[in-house]
Every structure is written in C-alpha cells, then in structure tokens.
Symmetry: D2
Subunit: 107 residues, 4 copies
C-alpha cells in the first residue's frame, strides 16, 4: 500500500508541473475544500439514501472524494501539517470530550 507521503508527493508534483502554487494560498485552498465538499453533498440532494446510490453515482462520489482529499493534502503540505498526527491528536481530544460510556446519543 502507498504511504501518505508518496500520495502527497504525487499531488504536489502534479501541481508544480502546472505552476499552480502561486494560486494556492491557504485561504484559497480552504475555500476550494469547502466548494468540493458542497459538490459531494450535492450528490445527496433531495433524497439519496444508501439504496439510491447506483454505480454511476458512486463513481461521481469517488471523484468528489478525491477532489476533497487532494485539496486537503495540498493544504497540509503547504502549512507543514502532519495529517495523521493531527488526526491522532484530535482522536485523543475527542476521547475526552465524548466519553464512550456517556456519549452515545447525539440527539
């Protein structure tokens, strides 16, 4: 299986061959992440429950998921954020904030 930094390197190489770093301020990449997240959400507009997702819709979902991940990795790369470390730290924070025994009901 690929390592995270191999994937990031591929993404950054793609970006750098197009000289797009000059567009990629953290603010604009954060905006782009939000735009792609909305495009993913649009695939669930009005109705789609799990049973409504056919093969063609699943393919479009995979593409939007990839767009989100690509911007997320560019964002982390440019701000020197170690993504897996950030996730592990957040899980520790969430363990405290939502103790397993007493946090079952979200509603």
């Amino acid at each position: 299986m690929l390592e995270l930094n191999e994937i990031i390197n591929k993404i950054i190489a793609f970006r750098d061959r197009r000289e797009w770093a000059r567009y990629h301020t953290p603010k604009d990449v954060a905006m782009s992440l939000a735009i792609e997240a909305a495009e993913l959400m649009e695939l669930f507009q009005w109705k789609p429950s799990r049973e409504d997702i056919d093969e063609e819709r699943l393919q479009r979902i995979r593409e939007e998921v990839a767009d989100i991940a690509i911007y997320l990795m560019i964002f982390c790369h440019d701000l020197n954020i170690d993504l897996y470390r950030a996730i592990e730290d957040k899980l520790v924070m969430n363990e405290e904030k939502y103790p397993a025994e007493t946090s079952k009901d979200l509603w």
Copy 2:
C-alpha cells in the same frame, strides 16, 4: 509511518464504541464534511494571509483539518471507497483535463 488502514481502523473503533454508525448515513456524513470545511474556512475569514497565522491559529487549523479527514475516512469506509486509489484515478483524469503545458493559467 502509520498506514492509511490503521488510521481508518482507529477512527472506526472510536465511532463504534459510541454506537454512532446509526447516525452516519452517507448523506449526513457528507453534510458534516461540508460543515467542518466551513469551520476551517472561518479561520481565514476577512483577512488571514499566511503571515497572519500564528501558533494558536495554526493549532485550531490542525484541529479542523483533522475533523475533515476523520469524516472523509468514515465516508470512504462506509461506502467501500479506497481513498488512495480514488486519488490516483482522479490525478490521471486531471492529467488529461489539464495538460501541464497548456494549463498554467487558472485565471
């Protein structure tokens, strides 16, 4: 370095100890991704260019990045999407859509 599936396993174990899978329809997780992306964007509202990001803001950025990544991995896990494969496939599509030689200007 951790492997992607080790991180995903940690996240899903966290979720399952709280029995939250019953809330996590793909539609609601996609909504949650968009909500977290907006919270990241909020940290850049009005002004923040790279120079405005101090250590305290960077810490909040890391936490929002982690929230986005956690929902992204839950989403992929629940729909059986191989995230790295999805990224690699999208990079191939983008290679065709944006040929390096002729796609330098985004504006």
Copy 3:
C-alpha cells in the same frame, strides 16, 4: 417596488406547479442553500477581486445570488419565519454584541 410577500408568493407558486414541496424538507433546503452558497463562492476562487469581475461574471453572480435567495425564501416560508423580522431582531442582538465604538477591528 415589489413587497417581500409578493416575491415569496411567486417562488412558492413556481414550486407548487412542479409539486416539489415533497422534496423540500427544511434539512434538504438548508443543504441546498449551502450548495448554492458554494457555487457563488466558486466564482471568486483563486483570484477575483472586485476589478476581476467583468459583465459576464457579474451575470453568473446574479444568478447564484438569486438561487440563494430563492432557497432562503422557501426555507422561511415553510418554517413560518418572518425574514425581515428575523433580520431586525438579529441587528438588535448584534448591536449589543458588537458595540459600535469598540468593535471596529475584526482582525
């Protein structure tokens, strides 16, 4: 000048001729609002400052603004929210939260 309720009536008549009320849960309309807001934001991705907005872009901006307003009015209509009253109440709250004399710097 048209009154707010005349505009709302036109929008609801448009909706009802298509029998779309069955899709318009408040949750889905809120999602749709967020999707349209992201589409407006997309027109400012990467660069656009005020000087970059030409006539053609301004026309697309007008259309996205209308989409946001249409969903906002459907949302208010369906939940019996008086939009102008809600705005006026919020301005009173904001007057207290951000006293004019001491709230000039947002950053």
Copy 4:
C-alpha cells in the same frame, strides 16, 4: 411592511458605524455567506426532521437565517445587484429550464 431598501439601509448603517466596509470584499462576503449557510445546516445535522425542531432550535434557526440574509444584502448592495430583479429573472430562466409539466420528478 418594510421595503427591501429600508432593510438594506439599516444593515449598511450598522456596518458603516463599525467601519467594516474595509473587510467586506465581495470574495470575503461570499465566503461568509457559505460559512453562515453551514451553520444553519449544522442545526439539521444527524437527524432533525421537521418534528424535531422545538422552540429553542427554531430560535437558533431564525438567527442563522438572519445572518445569511444580512450577508446576502451586503453582497448585493456592494455589487449593485437588485435582489428582487435577480430573483424574478432567475424564475423566468427556471420556467424554461424546468417546464412545469415535465419537471415534477427531481429524482
């Protein structure tokens, strides 16, 4: 009933007493609209169907709706967009795009 331009005048007066116009580029106001739309959506996260909306939640919904409307009106004011005209033009476009007789099913 208040006229639209009276509401807009109140909002702009509120803004100008705080000298916030210097923060309000169209790009940042569009971002802010998307942030507020996500906050509204958050009130429907995980479950809320219409029956789950109690009086306290409805009050928070009203406040988020007002925030969206306030940014929408600032945006229109600053770009000289006539909001009602934009809505009416969009309804005409939508009449053609979604003929009432053949556009009943969105899914």
